[in-house]
Structures are given as structure tokens and as C-alpha cells.
Amino acid sequence: MIAARISLAAAALFAGITTAAAMDTAPNDVMVVDGVVAKSLTGAPGDVAEGRKAFANRKLGNCLACHANSDMSEQLFHGEVGPSLDGVASRWSEEELRAIVVNSKAVFGEQTVMPGFYSLEVGQNVREDLVGKTILTAEQVESIVAYLGTLK
């Protein structure tokens, strides 16, 4: 009985992994080459509407903490630590935007204050429950990249 229950649980866990993340490129396997990440991290295009939400969400991208974005005038507070992202898709290609979100330091250099959202090159003493985890999932990165693509 107990054994059956455990294997059931294991099966459920495995099923969860295969549907959500098994196709994703793992953070340490993502290569930023010449400032681009050429392929989608999930193998599929991102969802623009989801990306727009993740961009503003303080627990996810929280991109608004540092970047103003006129497309989000419904949000009260826009930060100024980074440049405004108005028209960002005319300055950078999709592949470049993906690289910036994945690991900005591989594009702008070590000194940038922008966090790497799909990178395990992080600061010291990472909160215990976050060790080995990236800020965003591959799917969330792709959604944000898709959303950035609309900011022409």
C-alpha cells in the first residue's frame, strides 16, 4: 500500500516535470554568443499577454522597478534605474532581447545592476529557498521577450 502510494506520487511528480519544464534549456546550458540567445528556451514562442503581466508583477519580472514603459501607463510607479523601454524592439532583435533578459551581464558587462533573470551567476548568500533557482522560468522569460517584441 505504502509502496503503491509512493510510486503514484513519483509518477505524478514526473508527469509534472515533463509537461512544464523537461523541454526547457537548463540555465547553465544557455549560451549567450555575441550578445544573442538564438533559440527559444522552451522551444516555443512566448505568450505576449502573460509576458505583459510578468513584466509588471513585483514577484516575477518586476521590470517596472527599474524601467519606465509607456505601454503601462495604468501602473502608477515606473522606475528610472535603467533606460525607458519605449521602442526597445526597434533597438534590439528578439535574440538580443532574450540574451538581455536571460543574463544581462553577458551583454552589458559585469558591472550592470540589471539582474540576470535566467542565470545562476548570482550574488552571495542567496536566500536558502532560492539556491539553484532562477528568478524567472524559461516560459516566463519567453513571454517577456514576446511582450518586449511589441514595444516598437
Binding site: G123, N125, L130
Partner: protein, 286 residues
């Protein structure tokens, strides 16, 4: 007393309401004069070897409403804690049957200027101590009372009271004491160390980006001359090590214990960065 609390609450609402119509991210071009009498130094030339040219009080980065609260000691909610601290100062506690006043008398005379000079080197402990730890030392050795736990209400009130006796006097620590230099060095290193999943250092926010908004927060230089400060958001006094821990936590890092070597080194270094600013305790921040 009740009146004062209501006034403060109303101002807090006004202050958060104001942030919506923010137009300029520059520090305010304003002068802090407490009760129309005491002019505070909120900008001054940086000490030698400081990475910035000018050091500025966090007061300059707050909204007009928050600034006004601090300028009026009747409206400043932190003044309630000063009053509470005075009571504690005069209260006998512990087996020795003494109060702080038994040894130190009138704090407005004996403690004037004391708050400008911490952290100091403690020859017994062979490490720097801040005002909270000095209070604990007196409690244990002289009052024969228990040390306060970190952030006990009494610890915050008494620290606020003692610091307040230096209101308007410039922060001026003496780095030649004991081994303070090496603690300063360690603090400097920590100030530039990136922590947490967000991979940010104190300098990322307070040196490189002061004057800018990070979402709704106007980043200051992160100076410590107003601590303990009254925070409208928490409707309470906030100690310095609590603030340090909050900032470190915001980088999604584990944070060091209060009064640990790490936070004491940081206090030594960050206090030095604000050399020459007036002690503002109790400052008001949002």
C-alpha cells in the same frame, strides 16, 4: 498625545498619495530647520577618499509631506519614542537599584554629542560597539539588569532618546580608535559585495543610483544620521540593523544577525560615509 498620532496618520496618507504625481527625481532643494529654530546640515562636502563629492541626508529624498513632519517636533511621531526613552532613562531597574540617570544625571547635558561618535572601539570586547550595545553593557555591568533583546521596544526608545540629545550636531566618528580601521575596510568590502538572487550591492542602489526612483521608492545615499528613524510605512521606529537587514533581504539574500561582525563593520563604514551630516534622530522616512 492622541492628537499627535492622528496628525501623523493623516500625513502618512497624504505622503503616499503624493508619490503618484512625482515630477522630479532630484533631491529636494530644501532646508531642514527643526521647529523654525535649528538648521540642520543635510548636504556637506564628502570626507577625503569618499566615492561621492557631496553627502546628502535621506531627508532630501523624501516627499514634501514627509519632510514637513520631521521639521516639526510636535508632529514628528518619533518624538513619542523620545519621551518614552526619557522615562526609561529615569527608571530604576536591575539588582543594583540604579537607573541610567543615577550615573549620568541629566541626559541633555551628559549625553549631548554622544550620539555623533558611535560606533566606538570597545577595548573589552575588542570590537566596535554601537549605542544599542553600549546601553546593553551599562545594563549588564552597572544596573545589573538583563541586556535588551534586539529591537525590544525599550531598546529602540532609549537609543532614540540618547541619539536625540545630539540633534543637529555633525556625525563625527573617530576611526583612529583601536582596530576600527580594519573594520572600516571590512565594511567597505561588504558595501560593494553583490548579494542574493538579484545580485545587488549597497553601492548598486545607494551609490550608483541615488536620486533615481526604484519603482515607488526614491533612492537616497543610504546614510544613517537619522537612526533610529520613524517609518510611516511601519508606523514604528526602525533601528539601523533592522534597516540593513531589510535592504539585504530585498536582494533575496540571507541576512546576517543584528550586531554580528558583518553588520557592525557595515555600520562603521556607512556611518563614516555620512560624516558631517547632522544627527536627525528621530528622522521621519516613509
Amino acid at each position: 498625545m492622541k492628537n499627535r498620532i492622528i496628525l501623523a496618520a493623516a500625513a502618512a496618507v497624504a505622503a503616499s498619495g503624493m508619490a503618484i504625481s512625482v515630477v522630479s527625481a532630484e533631491p529636494a532643494d530644501d532646508e531642514l530647520v527643526i521647529d523654525g529654530e535649528m538648521t540642520m546640515v543635510t548636504r556637506t562636502a564628502a570626507p577625503k577618499d569618499h566615492p561621492l563629492d557631496e553627502v546628502m541626508s535621506g531627508w532630501l529624498f523624501r516627499t514634501p509631506e514627509t519632510r514637513a513632519l520631521e521639521a516639526d517636533s510636535f508632529q514628528n511621531p518619533g518624538m513619542l519614542y523620545v519621551e518614552r526613552g526619557e522615562e526609561i532613562w529615569n527608571t530604576v531597574e536591575g539588582e543594583a537599584g540604579k537607573s541610567c540617570a543615577s550615573c549620568h544625571g541629566d541626559a541633555s547635558e551628559t549625553m549631548a554629542g554622544v550620539g555623533t561618535a558611535y560606533p566606538k572601539w570597545d577595548a573589552d570586547a575588542k570590537r566596535p560597539i554601537n549605542l544599542e550595545l553600549q546601553i546593553n553593557k551599562c545594563r549588564e555591568n552597572n544596573l545589573k539588569a538583563e541586556a535588551y533583546k534586539f529591537d525590544a521596544a525599550e531598546q529602540k526608545a532609549l537609543t532614540t532618546y540618547i541619539k536625540h540629545q545630539s540633534l543637529g550636531k555633525p556625525v563625527q566618528m573617530d576611526l583612529s580608535q583601536g582596530d576600527l580601521q580594519s573594520w572600516w575596510k571590512k565594511g567597505e568590502e561588504l558595501y560593494y559585495t553583490r548579494t542574493g538572487q538579484l545580485n545587488l550591492s549597497c553601492a548598486s542602489c545607494h551609490e550608483e543610483n541615488n536620486g533615481k526612483y526604484i519603482r515607488a521608492d526614491h533612492l537616497s545615499q543610504g546614510n544613517v544620521n537619522g537612526f533610529p528613524t520613524y517609518r510611516l510605512k511601519q508606523a514604528n521606529m526602525v533601528s539601523l540593523h533592522n534597516r540593513f537587514r531589510g535592504c539585504i533581504r530585498d536582494t533575496r539574500a540571507e541576512y546576517p544577525a543584528a550586531f554580528s561582525d558583518e553588520l557592525m563593520a557595515l555600520e562603521v563604514y556607512v556611518t563614516w560615509r555620512g560624516t558631517g551630516l547632522s544627527v536627525e534622530t528621530p528622522a521621519v522616512r516613509q
